[in-house]
């Protein structure tokens, strides 16, 4: 038996390789890495993996590039379009400019999931949504099973399907967030396993949990949607992306000795124009972009050739691209080809198969900077106020453009224990002159969609359609009250506070047509906390007070009022009175005997 199976192994391998080689010809898998050095010596690395499966083979459960585990979940939960995001950190738009993919591939801090589910009514859609979250929770090792009715919303105008859906499907959009979820390596491993080369070859071999989750900001995404050509041929497209912003200095620290150490005196870059600059005083200059780095240093790994399953024909042959000025020198491994693009900043590399690839940039002073666009809108959301009883939300939108107003949709979900008073919604507008004026909120808010919370059942859903005029800053504020919960409803670290999901901003850009998404950071909400050590004491003390009141009042009510004389007379007739009188009589008798003897 064992001999037979051993003998058959090469045959199976041969068959497999034959099989794969025939399909490779019609392969539809692309992977791409874009490296973009950002100001403040940061490096944005955007990994993109995309594959298509025809709708027929998807329906027949013939999976090739689409992972079977994920495909079956989608079919079981009748999910037509799925978007899943794992994000940590904060995108610093002030220094890094607009977000990669216009924000469409990123999520709010933690885990964010939204899907279009085909179901005849809302209840069935919700049941399938629960099935979906439970299954994805197992697949991605994330707490997605905690996406219950209180964390699920049905946005009305904030999201639109990316895919092409047939008219007969009754699609329901459901959206859930887990702002407190800590994204880490246990989520990266299943994410990489979904890829055809599973992180063993191709650009995915660069992905290492130590570096990815040490990044200043990172976002992993999985998008599955049907895409149809004008002729009506439909494919199911799965697109996975990983975007990360690495601090080059931090990433270059060796793993065996990661402790940051002070820069030696002679390596300090000081601002010599300061009057107090001397041998022992230094005003450090900001980080510059001319640092030397290489792929191996920054990612801690080498790029192991190309993924053999990827489509290497045609325009997608360049799997690694780098955005630095052309005047900057770049050294690449032997066998790889460099192709400079006409824009003066982009160069792409054609990798040699099954040869490790590395890319290194020496330290060099450059005069040209890669131009960085200004984001269309800056948004910031904070909780204001003090105390654990009530607070306020403040959302600041600033439009940097001098020419045009920006229209967008502001979407936020609030947990039920944060009770907003929407009638306190106020808007203040500040121009470039710094003078702020209070406006009626209706001047800024064109449309409101508000679904109030129900305690312990669902959260608040608020969607506002807003317009911020050119060169101005709009501040929205509203008050809220914090509920106090039952002691079992608090997490073990109750004093840390509760996470409030980030707000999602969808900018309807008439020029680019594709929407731009911005997400605020998540918030920490401090709730009043009871004393967790006290349940028995409280039950006992409150019951004592109640018993005292009840006992006193009913004791008074059921007894008769009598005068003192009557009381002593009555006392003689009661059992106690009789016993006492007997005892006294016996005592008297003994005393009487004693006197007789004397």
């Amino acid at each position: 038996m064992t001999v037979l199976s051993l003998l058959s192994l090469p045959l199976v391998a041969l068959l497999l390789s034959f099989c794969s080689s025939t399909v490779v010809a019609s392969s539809d898998y692309h992977e791409n890495l874009l490296l973009h050095p950002l100001p403040q010596s940061a490096l944005l690395a955007s990994f993109n993996f995309r594959s298509n499966t025809s709708q027929e083979s998807f329906d027949q459960q013939h999976f090739r590039y689409l992972p079977r585990a994920l495909g079956q979940i989608l079919q079981h939960a009748q999910t037509k379009e799925l978007h899943l995001r794992f994000t940590t950190g904060r995108w610093d738009a002030e220094s890094w400019g607009p977000r990669p993919w216009n924000g469409s591939k990123e999520g709010g801090t933690g885990v964010e999931l939204w899907a279009w589910i085909d179901a005849p009514n809302d209840d069935e859609a919700f049941a399938k949504w629960i099935t979906l979250t439970q299954s994805l929770s197992g697949l991605f090792c994330a707490s997605l099973n905690f996406v219950d009715s209180t964390r699920t919303t049905r946005p009305v105008v904030s999201f639109e399907p990316f895919g092409d859906h047939s008219e007969v499907d009754q699609l329901h959009l459901l959206h859930g967030t887990l702002p407190g979820e800590v994204v880490c390596t246990e989520n990266l491993t299943p994410f990489l396993k979904l890829l055809p080369c599973k992180g063993k070859a191709g650009i995915s071999s660069l992905l290492d949990g130590h570096k990815l989750f040490d990044a200043a900001w990172q976002s992993m995404s999985v998008d599955i949607q049907p895409v149809c050509s004008p002729e009506g041929d439909c494919v199911v497209q799965i697109e996975q992306t990983v975007d990360m912003v690495l601090d080059i200095d931090r990433s270059k620290r060796s793993r065996s000795n990661p402790i940051p150490r002070p820069v030696p005196n002679d390596e300090l870059v000081c601002d010599t124009s300061k009057p107090y600059h001397s041998g022992d005083t230094c005003y450090p200059l900001g980080k510059t972009n001319d640092k030397a780095w290489s792929l191996g240093q920054v990612f801690g790994r080498n790029l192991d050739g190309i993924c053999p399953l990827a489509d290497t024909e045609g325009s997608h042959e360049e799997s690694v691209c780098l955005q630095v000025p052309h005047e900057r020198g770049v050294y690449i491994s032997q066998g790889a080809q460099e192709i400079k693009k006409d824009d003066g900043f982009t160069r792409c590399f054609k990798l040699a198969p099954s040869t490790p690839f590395d890319l290194s940039i020496p330290q060099q002073t450059v005069n040209v900077e890669v131009p960085l666009d200004e984001p269309v809108l800056h948004a910031e959301r904070t909780i204001v106020g003090n105390g654990q009883e009530r607070g306020g939300m403040r959302i600041i939108f600033s439009n940097p453009s001098n020419a045009s107003a920006v229209d967008f949709i502001y979407f936020e979900t609030l947990p039920w224990f944060l009770r907003p008073y929407i009638h306190t919604l106020r808007a203040t507008i500040t121009g470039r002159d710094g003078v702020s004026r209070e406006l009626p909120a209706s001047k800024i808010v064109k449309e409101t969609y508000y679904r109030p919370a129900i305690d312990r059942e669902r959260g608040t859903q608020l969607e506002l359609s807003l317009s911020v005029p050119a060169a101005s800053t709009v501040t929205l504020t509203y008050d809220f009250e914090k509920a106090i919960l039952r002691y079992t409803e608090y997490p073990p670290d109750a004093n840390r506070g509760f996470n409030v999901a980030p707000a999602v901003i969808r900018i309807v850009d008439n020029v680019h047509h594709a929407p731009i998404y911005i997400r605020s950071t998540s918030l920490l909400l401090q709730l009043p906390v009871p004393d967790f050590s006290m349940p028995y004491n409280v039950i006992i003390l409150t019951s004592t007070v109640i018993a005292l009141a009840f006992g006193t009042i009913f004791n008074i009510l059921i007894r008769r009022v009598v005068s003192l004389d009557q009381a002593s007379a009555l006392g003689a007739t009661t059992l106690k009175g009789r016993i006492v009188s007997k005892v006294v009589a016996i005592q008297d008798r003994f005393r009487g005997k004693a006197t007789k003897v004397e």
Partner: protein, 386 residues
């Protein structure tokens, strides 16, 4: 006499007006206080404010409440009812003094300035009683129906109130039988509540959702925002599996006083109402100082019992102590962070204890008064309860 009345009512109005003019932030401050605003009566949870007209409206409701109190006091029902006459009839306050005691009570002023909706429940109860002592039993039932529709718990006042109406009716010729009278009035109360509920359902549309959002809120106590009562911390700390059981126990406990007090004081139904208002101020699910202020408002009707009370000093000290320390301890917990929830909880215990001592003492004094009435020769003698 007329002049005194005008002076008291006018001064009360002017005092409230002065307070909001001199301290414009005072109403909002009071609206935010947990001692005044509970989840069921908070003004902020209801509406957008347009300050002065609404404030003046609340002042007028307060004056109307005081007027109802004045009517109750002038009827003399608390001194001399059909079946009972107090021994110390001369020890009493007149109607204007009782109204002034209500109008200048800081608790009443705070409730009024905070625009708490309990003011309307108070109105319903006081008008029900004033109509009952005035012999207008139909209006009394309608007013009680209004109060019960607003806050549910005033429905517990039905039995003593209908007895009070009957006392008045029995003094006239052709008095009907008690049972029939009670059934008729119960029908009237149900009709008035049903009418108001029907009206609300026409407005809100969904009957069950409306009921669970309003009366379910009173009955099941889902909101555990701190207040001066005993329920909130108890149900925060309660184990989940026993929550329903203790909700039942607490409500039964609240209702049990109705039977006990009515049975013992069936000759003085107005006293039953007074003491039940005290019970509500301690044991209802979301009590606030407005409930205490209502109890303190009706207490002076029994001025003649004061000489018979034994623990007045202790009760008053406990109430003053907790009213002063309550806000301080709440601040320590919520804002300063230097104290925890137990600080405020302890104060609510003292507050409840203070009012329950006062209540028990009043009940004792009333019993002693009844006894003295039956034994006139023993007036002033030391007594015991056996």
């Amino acid at each position: 006499m007329i002049d005194r009345k005008f002076v008291v009512f006018g001064a009360a109005f002017v005092l409230r007006l002065l307070l909001i003019c001199l301290f414009p932030s005072l109403p909002d401050l009071l609206t935010g206080r947990v001692e005044v605003s509970t989840p069921v009566n908070s003004f902020k949870r209801h509406a957008k404010s347009s300050p002065l007209p609404i404030a003046v409206f609340y002042f007028l409701v307060d004056l109307l409440n005081a007027y109802a109190l004045l009517k109750i006091s002038e009827s003399g029902q608390s001194i001399k009812s059909r079946l009972h006459t107090a021994v110390r009839q001369h020890v009493r306050w007149d109607g204007v003094s009782v109204a002034a005691w209500f109008l200048f009570n800081p608790f009443t002023i705070a409730t009024c300035l905070a625009r708490s909706t309990s003011v309307f429940t108070t109105s319903g109860i006081l008008f029900a009683v004033s109509n009952a002592v005035g012999g207008n039993s139909i209006n009394a039932m309608l007013a009680l129906g209004f109060a019960s529709y607003l806050s549910l718990y005033p429905a517990l006042l039905f039995i003593p109130l209908v007895l009070l109406c009957y006392d008045r009716r029995a003094q006239e010729p052709n008095a009907p039988k008690v049972a029939l009278y009670v059934v008729q009035h119960a029908g009237l109360l149900f009709a008035s509540i049903a009418g108001l509920l029907g009206l609300s359902c026409l407005i809100t549309g969904n009957f069950w959702e409306f009921m669970s959002a309003t009366y379910g809120f009173h009955l099941l106590v889902p909101d555990l925002t701190p207040n001066v009562g005993l329920w909130w911390y108890f149900f925060i700390e309660m184990f989940d599996s026993f929550r329903e059981f203790f909700l039942g126990v607490f409500w039964l406990h609240l209702a049990s006083y109705v039977g006990g007090l009515t049975a013992r004081f069936h000759r003085q139904p107005l006293f039953v109402i007074t003491s039940l208002l005290g019970v509500f101020a301690i044991f209802k699910p979301y009590p606030s100082i407005s409930d205490a202020s209502l109890f303190f408002a009706v207490l002076p009707l029994y001025r003649h019992l004061f000489p018979l009370m034994r623990y007045t000093f202790f009760a008053v000290s406990a109430i003053l102590y907790s009213s002063l320390l309550g806000p301080a301890f709440y601040h320590l917990w919520i804002y300063a962070g230097s104290g925890n929830a137990n600080f405020f909880y302890a104060i609510t215990l003292v507050w409840s204890l203070g009012i329950s001592i006062l209540l028990a003492d009043t009940v004792f004094a009333a019993l002693r008064d009844e006894w003295e009435q039956q034994n006139p020769d023993q007036k002033g003698a030391e007594v015991r309860q056996v």
